[in-house]
Amino acid sequence: MSLNAEPFVRGRSGRIRLHVLPTKKFKTYAVVLYAGVPLSEAEITRVALLPFVLGRGTASYPETLALREKLDAMYGAHFGYDVGKRGDHQVVQFRLDIIGDRFVSSDTPLLREALNLLGEVLTAPALEDGRLVARYVESEKKTVAQKLDAIINDKIRYAEKRCLEEMFRSEPYRLPALGRKEDLEGIDAASLHETYRRWLRIAAFDLYVVGDTSLEEVKSLVEGAFRLPDGPPGIYAPSLPRQAPPEPRTVEERLDVTQGKLNMGLRTPVTYAGPDYPALLVYNGLLGGFPHAKLFVNVREKASLAYYASSRLDGHKGVIMIQTGIEIANYGKTLGIIREQLEAMRRGDFSGDDLAKTKEMLANQLTALRDNPFDRIWFDFNASVAGVEHTAEELLAKIRAVTPDDVVRVAQTVGLDTVYFLRDRKEETVHARG
């Protein structure tokens, strides 16, 4: 079966690129709006705050409760937003998941209602004295602060965030997508409104709709609902990857934890847009992407050192993150085993059988995208940010063609940059007492 049997139909409405996948396969309409700007030290926290404030009220529903009741009444339309990083861009995402009209009896078509609402959230927010509502701004500053503080609650996420901060300590990429707590205090409705106006002018907007509709219908709904300044659509500039230093840096941090978290950040100059990207996917799969991978087999199954041991690839930035949770005393042993796996990959020490399994697993992931409207959107958007025009099927064909030599060539570009270990306070306490 062809993966691009239902390709996205592309169009434009002013500054918004439209991507529509007309299909009756799903019971819903999936709607995602991405708005990306280059990561900026000065603006990151204000941009992060925007979706929170915009989600509080619109011109027609200035009170938050009325807006949320409206969503309930649309058969529990799910509305969410998120801020993330794609390469050197900060991307705000708005997402709506709405039931298809044929399953319910609604007076107005639900897709029209949804796009009207999204258009208002983005371009016609609730205002007071001509700018964003001050009490929403103050309230959402607290929410963002709480979210930034809460990262420490999840030690797996915290360790990853800290490792990335150390790896990118001299680049804007070190900043969390949600910004910095210390910036929040200086933000008020006036300064945020200024950021909002500018953001509307410069952000790259991509609107995706998957469901029982057409480009023409979406285009006419968007034209009635979104009021953006005129101009050409924004673009995503590619990020320039860096090599790892000859020797990795080691960072140790102590917190009140039972289990140690070992994160290892690796760099490669190979990225999403490069010809070796399929080989990099295979490399990461063999190293730690699956339960048959080297990390899972050697750290968990053979040595019983951990419950989880895996690696994750960020193809936009050329970063691989290894993560595992271990007994603190087993730090040296685990580090040794993982470094041995990296060496083995460089030597090409993996079986043809493991290579075949890895390709099958990647094929399964890419093929399964078809069945989830949001996964299809996610894949297409990632490719478009990287400036690549491939379908999942084309990427899969390239993965199938990857040879062991391709994997070794990629392995030799992968360098260990940072070793981060989060551990307990015990030894410290003993020293203090001693």
Binding site: G76, D97, K142, Q146, A150, D154, T258, A306, Y307, Y308
Partner: protein, 428 residues
Amino acid sequence: MPAVEYPRLEETLYHERLDNGLDVFVLPKPGFTKTFAVFATRFGSADNRFRLGDGREFAVPDGLAHFLEHKMFEEPDGDVFARFAANGASANAYTGFDQTVYLFSATRNVDRCLDILLDFVQNPYFTDANVEKEKGIIIQEIQMYRDNPDWRVYFGLLEALYHRHPVRIDIAGTPESVSSITKELLYECHRVFYHPSNMHLFVVGGVDPERTMETVRANQARKRFDPPAGLERLSADEPEDAKEPMRQATLAVAMPKCYVGFKEAGGNLSGERAIRRDLAARIVLDALFSRSSPVYQEMYDEHLVFDSFGAQFTSGPGYAFSAIGGDTRDPGEMVRRVTEAMERTAERGLDPDVFERIRRKKIGAHLRLWNSPEAVAGEFVRFRHRGGDLFRLVELYESLTLEEANGWLRAHVHPSRRAVSVMRGDAS
């Protein structure tokens, strides 16, 4: 093969009970590439005391069902994950209070994957050495959860609510209980709980129902099973009142986390009555505490709670409880406000318009679920184990009355059945 059509959902479900007692369900999704299969047994962490037909009684160590789940993935000829991977399928499993679920997702080789799934779950292979090796892995899993404040504060609530019911025990057990598990005990539990008559197979996705059913029939026909062991689960004698009003603990958290919950008295409903009760509870809790509720919005505006705040209702054999909370700067104040809102609404009743709006929202959310084969599979077996039918949920929602919802809340909110769990940051 019998098929039931559900025109409202645009779905058709095929079902057959095999001679060995296994219930097999197939839900074809035309146009879908992926197939998702779950193989589930009614054996979870709370099934820790039972009697067999031969009169023997068992009280198994905490974490046994979860340990068994881990160990099933090992076969004499190697790891099961590798066999799935060779077919491009990914496999997983999870253990809950009342069930253990094994699953795979595949985009091709579905028949072969079904054979692998049925074979590995029905073929235990335990040795002293492989059981010992697993202990290290599971102890690290337990330690990971010990550092997880959300998990800890949730189980703190269960420990405070329940005196004896095993729902209060961590699903994975403790390092000590896990250390005492032996291969003999694992074999015994497998024989008892993994009998086909105690299990369900649910397959959903781009499959042909007759062909899938034939694969399963042929696989099962090749195997011999002892007669069922005459299993009788022994229930804990659980008092109606909460064990203690409050549990507190500390961990490295930025802001306190707090749950308040009520346990249900006489919580041993089953079948459709239990499902109706659960739906009534969900509508009421949503009306009271979801993001479109005035109570949530007020607490949020005062920065008392954040968007991590939520309310859930959980039930199973011999237990049912609400859990309401999240991050809060002032646990005492949050508990006071939540309780007050519940008591006030119990007294006055829900606004009929609000009830209708939330019912509509719940129906929409439930219909959206049918987009996701994974979610349908997981929910289907969960409902089936409770004696309910996921396919009838919209009907049940529509037949619920405001009086039922109000009646549930009045019975639920009872001061002596309330408990609170709080997790605070490390004071040092």
